[in-house]
Symmetry: C2
């Protein structure tokens, strides 16, 4: 039901060009290695899992382009392709992880086997990376959908949707699954300043899936809660510490505090791989600052004075005590998270 | 120290053209009645008190233009001018109030006196309307400045500044006065979606006055509070019910809830005339909805899907229990507001 951000269609890598959303929906075929690199670089494909899957298929595109004539030749082609694609987004963990997986498969195949067999094994690995992601999204949706009741209003922040994964997303997977199950509910999407992922992507995805969505400015979430229109909050996560403290897009902590004040349960949806057991709590998560320009010139027009000071952290950390549950592919984990997260390690 | 949104300079009406802010500062002379009407209409001058003062001076401009040759002639000129200016912003209460005051003065003068005397009395009335507003702003600043201590961070929302009045504003008057008194403090200005009055106007005004201001997205207020950078919140008000419930720009209630959760006192600054004693509480204040277009096309570019549902209330109501004090020209009123507001009626 949700859109497919990235897919392998009979030997062709096809993505939704997210730079055109929400005003234009266009699928594009990435037929050359250069076009894959560019698509990742300029965010035609975005969201850590979607980037990883796109890169895995990108390795296939790159190897095919180099026309290797032997298995050892093909291994070199994989290595060159992997090294090249790794330069597209220097800090994307899933990108490196997926490329590493592709490289390992190639190296394991170097010594023996035919070129045809090499290709099939390489393609199978990329498809497995993609299917893995889809299964994880589906499982998150399955576990989380039970939290949504008929008549509920669900509030979300930023975009933790199908557009960020190869599957149905994380927070939005819960809503897609609830919709499949025939539940009647509506969603309030925070527009999510400064980059408006909620307005541009979440609202669009939910509309595509026929889910009743209402866009609000971030500062309106409290009012919507006060009006009794929100029964639960579901958001994604960038990183989860061992005690459950959760880093996510700036504004998530604000929503969590407002939810608590209005007696609304606040859920995080994320694959278990988001848990960083090396961090005892959220204090160790550095708060990256983003450019003032995104706030002062966000949409093609200057909307603040020249040289104004801007404080624009990329994300914030929601303390575990604000979180009612963490929806993972392993189930909905409940507080105390130090215990429930450790139990699934 | 603050900028002057509207002033009468030796017989000339001069305003800051706010449609050019924050990228250009330009004072313009409104030499014709038509230009006064247009300036109010297209928001070159905005903010209820500033509009009222501009209209009062606009009556002088209109009468002068009509070149009356007798006192009764001049009364007719006032009436025509008043009727015309009243059509510039159909729902602006201060506009009608100021025009009515000018008309009453003219009518009182109709029967007797010279034309020169007529003009002087009319001009004196407009100047008095302006000075009244300045005094009120100054008194709010005097009463509120004591709330700011050296080293404090002050958070504000929207624009309750000099640009909205003939004087130093309401919430911002407190900061201008604290600055005059030599206090060391900084301000966090919420950008205030959808129309960005915080980014466009508040940040600009405070920078003009040399006050240390940092612009934040609305969803970042909670994080700034969590970092311990905010010691008090001061905002303006559109309407205050008899029990202290306060209607103000959308997002104000969100700030109030967040402030309470972080132990930060939340103050409202407003002239006493903002109190509507006919309303027992905030439940009676209708929540006007604004156009979806402001949210989806707010920055000169479409940033949300076609036909998306949008919920965009113009303001919200902060219940009295979130308010530590109401800073008026009569002093800082404290809870219970039903009592303190009534005592100053």
């Amino acid at each position: 039901m949700p859109v497919e951000a990235v897919r392998w269609a009979e030997g062709e890598l096809v993505i939704i060009d997210q730079t055109l959303l929400p005003t234009e929906y266009r699928e594009i075929r990435l037929a050359t290695l250069e076009s894959v690199w560019e698509a990742i670089r300029v965010l035609r494909v975005r969201g850590a899992p979607a980037i990883g899957v796109c890169a895995a298929f990108g390795v296939l595109v790159g190897v095919r382009e180099k026309r290797p004539t032997s298995a050892p030749d093909a291994v070199r082609a994989v290595e060159e392709t992997v090294n090249y694609l790794a330069t597209s987004r220097p800090t994307a963990v899933n990108l490196f992880w997926a490329l590493e997986r592709m490289k390992k498969v190639a190296e394991g195949l170097a010594a023996d086997g035919s070129l045809k067999d090499f290709w099939h094994r390489l393609e199978a690995e990329a498809i497995e990376i993609c299917e893995d992601d889809k299964r994880r999204c589906r499982a998150i949706g399955d576990h989380g959908a039970g939290l949504i009741q008929d008549g509920n209003g669900v509030l979300t922040h930023c975009n933790a949707g199908a557009l960020a994964t190869a599957g149905s997303g994380t927070a939005l997977a819960v809503m897609f699954r609830a919709k499949e199950l025939g539940k009647q509910f509506c969603v309030f999407a925070d527009e999510t300043r400064p980059l408006l992922q909620g307005a541009r992507l979440t609202a669009w995805e939910l509309m595509q899936a026929g889910i009743d969505v209402t866009l609000i400015c971030d500062n309106t979430a409290a009012q919507v809660m006060r009006e009794g229109k929100v029964q639960l909050v579901v958001v994604g996560a960038d990183r989860i510490a061992a005690n459950g403290d959760t880093a996510n897009k700036i504004g998530t902590y604000s929503v969590a505090v407002l939810a608590k004040a209005h007696g609304v349960p606040f859920y995080v949806a994320a694959p278990y791989s988001t848990v960083d057991a090396t961090l005892p709590d959220g204090a160790g998560i550095p708060i990256e600052r983003r450019s003032a320009h995104e706030v002062t010139h966000g949409f093609g027009r200057q909307t603040a004075p020249d040289n104004v000071n801007v404080y624009s952290p990329a994300f914030d950390v929601t303390p575990a005590e604000f979180i009612a549950g963490i929806i993972t592919e392993k189930g909905v984990l409940r507080p105390p998270f130090a215990k429930s997260l450790a139990a699934h390690a």
